[in-house]
């Protein structure tokens, strides 16, 4: 158990700067997920904490002690790799006990720790098998077992579920979360899958282009995205965006889309935005209602594709400014070409400054 902190951490490969000064504090026992698109630097940050890459600037601390220049084996960290990295010539038990063997741990103690981890992960019957004799999910468990046996200060997970099929991924997601709740070891987990991040994390760190865009609990990020990137990245299906500007109409400030239609806003969402300011209007597919009549005016989305999901129906619709997605709770009968009777829940919308991408609700911009 330990705290982890990055202080202005930088990493460059030649002239290409992958991490541009990242600062982050991870509390003892916390489960933090680094999420972002490919190439955003999340895996590099994790590998630097493990000691597999060297920082080119800033500091990295474990329990307040700088680990810059310290070898991976001295950092007391265990990592679960995307490819599992199980030693193919060793049995499950040998894989799990490799670190103990290197540390010359007494055999009785090693056996006891391997057996305890195996029980925890339901691997008791597989201890004599080789990795090639295991399924993807079992290999994943062995990789975690190898980490658990060491009882490290910090667990690192580098996209551990991306090689599994969708069903197994959901199952393993729950298992990892349950395991963390049981062990309470500080864990840092990298993924590009925002659903994984939302469902597992205590806190999510959204990264993009080598910087941190926002840090917060899953619901914080969902309810209060700090900028356009986070708003578009968190949530599935993605938030709908409309380009336009703020306009005064009969003493009420409205959003006027470039497509010509007007949409309601609230004072809170507008923050301190000026009239005439170029903004992006954001609303999540699930915050659009079908009971009202916003479309009675000039906002008239037309159904183009219907995706029945069982519990909900996703509708892809065209509007004068582009495309949008609407989520209908239930099984409505929609057909391509239908005009949708929509009401947007104005209290749930977000307005972003067009130029900076910042959420006007929190930016305090004048």
């Amino acid at each position: 158990m330990a705290t982890v902190s990055f202080e202005g951490t930088r990493k460059a490969f030649g002239a290409h700067e992958v991490l541009k000064g990242v600062s982050l504090d991870v509390a003892d026992g916390e489960f933090v997920i680094l999420v972002g698109p490919s190439g955003c630097g999340k895996s590099t940050l994790l590998r630097m904490l493990a000691g597999l890459e060297q920082a080119t600037g800033g500091d990295i601390r474990i329990d307040g002690k700088s680990v810059i220049g310290i070898a991976p084996k001295e950092r007391d960290i265990a990592m679960v790799f995307q490819t599992y990295a199980l030693y193919p010539h060793m049995t499950v038990a040998e894989n799990m006990g490799f670190s103990l063997r290197l540390a010359k741990a007494p055999k009785a103690e090693a056996d006891q720790r391997i057996s305890a981890a195996a029980t925890l992960l339901n691997l008791d019957t597989l201890l004599d098998r080789y990795p090639k004799q295991l399924s993807g999910g079992q290999r994943q468990r062995v990789a975690m077992g190898r980490a658990i046996v060491r009882d490290p200060k910090v667990f690192l997970f580098d996209e551990p579920l991306s090689n599994l099929d969708a069903k197994l991924r959901v199952q393993m997601r729950a298992e990892i979360k349950a395991l963390h709740q049981r062990l309470r070891t500080t864990s840092i987990y990298v993924t590009h899958d925002q659903v994984e991040a939302m469902t597992m994390a205590d806190r999510i760190v959204v990264m993009n282009g080598g910087i941190i865009e926002q840090v917060g609990t899953p619901l914080d990020l969902y309810d209060s995205p700090a900028n356009l990137f986070v708003a578009g990245f968190i949530g599935s299906p993605s938030m709908n965006f409309f380009d336009g500007k703020l306009e005064r109409q009969d003493a009420i400030v409205m959003f006027r889309a470039n497509g010509g239609f007007a949409l309601p806003i609230t004072v809170e969402a507008a923050g301190s935005a000026r009239e005439g300011q170029a903004v992006v209007y954001g609303v999540r597919p699930e915050h659009i209602d079908f009971t009202g009549s916003d479309s009675s005016g000039d906002f008239a989305p037309v159904v183009s594709v219907v995706e029945p999901m069982g519990s909900e129906t996703l509708i892809l619709a065209d509007h004068p400014g582009g495309k949008m997605t609407v989520s209908y709770r239930g099984r409505g009968v929609f057909n391509p070409g239908d005009r949708l009777p929509l009401t947007i829940d104005a209290s749930r919308i977000h307005l972003f400054d067009r130029a900076s991408g910042r959420n006007l609700r929190y930016s305090g911009q004048h």
């Binding site: 493990a50 597999l52 991976p72 030693y87 490799f98 540390a103």
Partner: protein, 301 residues
């Protein structure tokens, strides 16, 4: 060619049809193989059953030539030298290749390209030329080795490397190792590069230093490569000829005699075609046995 079957073809017809077609495709290569490999081998095997006199068959002697093997001291000495050569090759070039490849694999791509080309260079030199180069290096009067030993104050260790019975075979083996280790480096290097790098990273996090990663990851994962190189080296050790012939021709005495030089001398210098043929058949049998064994072991692993 399109096959037209009036009704559903029987499996046997299909098999015959496919076999005939396959045979047509391999026929040119097969004809060449029979003419230049199979027939000469059978010819040699047949020659070994006769006693010869001045290049012509004297009488059928059955397995007489093979019986002579048991009392031919030179044959057993040569076979022993081949075995020593095989063991030394397994010990040195393979081990040196493995260690160098492991060190090289962690360097930059540029260093890897440069160094592997350098290591491989001796392999590209014809063995006859390698023999001449090493003949110069070992020369007792103006040779490089004695000169360097003199230079570092170890002149007393110098000698006529290829002319003394204690050092001749080992000196030749060192030259052989020089021509072979680069090949081992390259084969091991490509095998190491195909190992998932995250295994080494996982081992580093598990607490393994360089030596432990080498011992617990690299060596076991290169088992099949080592097996391949070992068997290849063993077959080469039975077949090699050029290096010995250019430098010592099997001497001094029989101290560097190997099976191929013994066969050459028996055939061309003594003119005993029948016995040379019997020796060749035995050599072929040994090489085929090692080859078959390697095929079996490699296909199992």
């Amino acid at each position: 060619m399109v096959a037209v079957f009036p009704c559903h073809p029987q499996p046997w017809d299909m098999f015959m049809y496919n076999s005939r077609q396959a045979l047509l495709f391999v026929l040119p290569a097969l004809l060449l193989y029979v003419a230049f490999v199979a027939v000469p081998i059978l010819q040699v095997a047949a020659y070994s059953l006769f006693s010869w006199d001045n290049g012509s068959i004297k009488a059928f002697s059955g397995l007489g030539n093979y019986q002579r093997l048991t009392s031919d001291g030179v044959f057993w000495t040569a076979l022993g030298h081949n075995a020593i050569w095989a063991v030394l090759t397994l010990c040195f070039p393979l081990m040196i290749g493995l260690v160098l490849a492991s060190i090289l694999a962690e360097r930059s791509p540029r260093t890897i390209r440069l160094m592997s080309a350098l290591y491989f260079l001796p392999r590209t030199i014809p063995l006859v030329v390698a023999g001449i180069i090493w003949g110069w290096i070992y020369n007792p009067i103006f040779g490089l080795l004695n000169y360097v030993l003199d230079l570092i104050g170890l002149g007393s260790l110098g000698g006529a490397w290829l002319a003394e019975s204690g050092s001749a075979l080992l000196s030749l083996n060192a030259a052989g190792a020089w021509t072979f280790y680069g090949f081992c480096v390259l084969i091991y290097l490509s095998a190491i590069q195909s190992i998932d790098p995250s295994l080494y990273e996982a081992a580093s996090l598990d607490g393994a230093g360089w030596g432990q990663r080498f011992r617990f990851i690299t060596v076991p994962l290169l088992k099949s490569t080592t097996l391949f190189l070992g068997l290849y080296a063993a077959i080469e050790a039975m077949r090699f000829f050029d290096l010995v012939w250019v430098t010592t021709q099997g001497g001094p005495g029989y101290d560097t005699e190997v099976l191929t030089t013994h066969i050459y001398k028996t055939f061309f210098l003594v003119g005993d075609f029948g016995y040379a043929a019997a020796l060749s058949v035995v050599l072929l049998a040994i090489v085929l046995t090692i080859g078959g064994l390697s095929y079996r072991i490699l296909s199992q692993s």
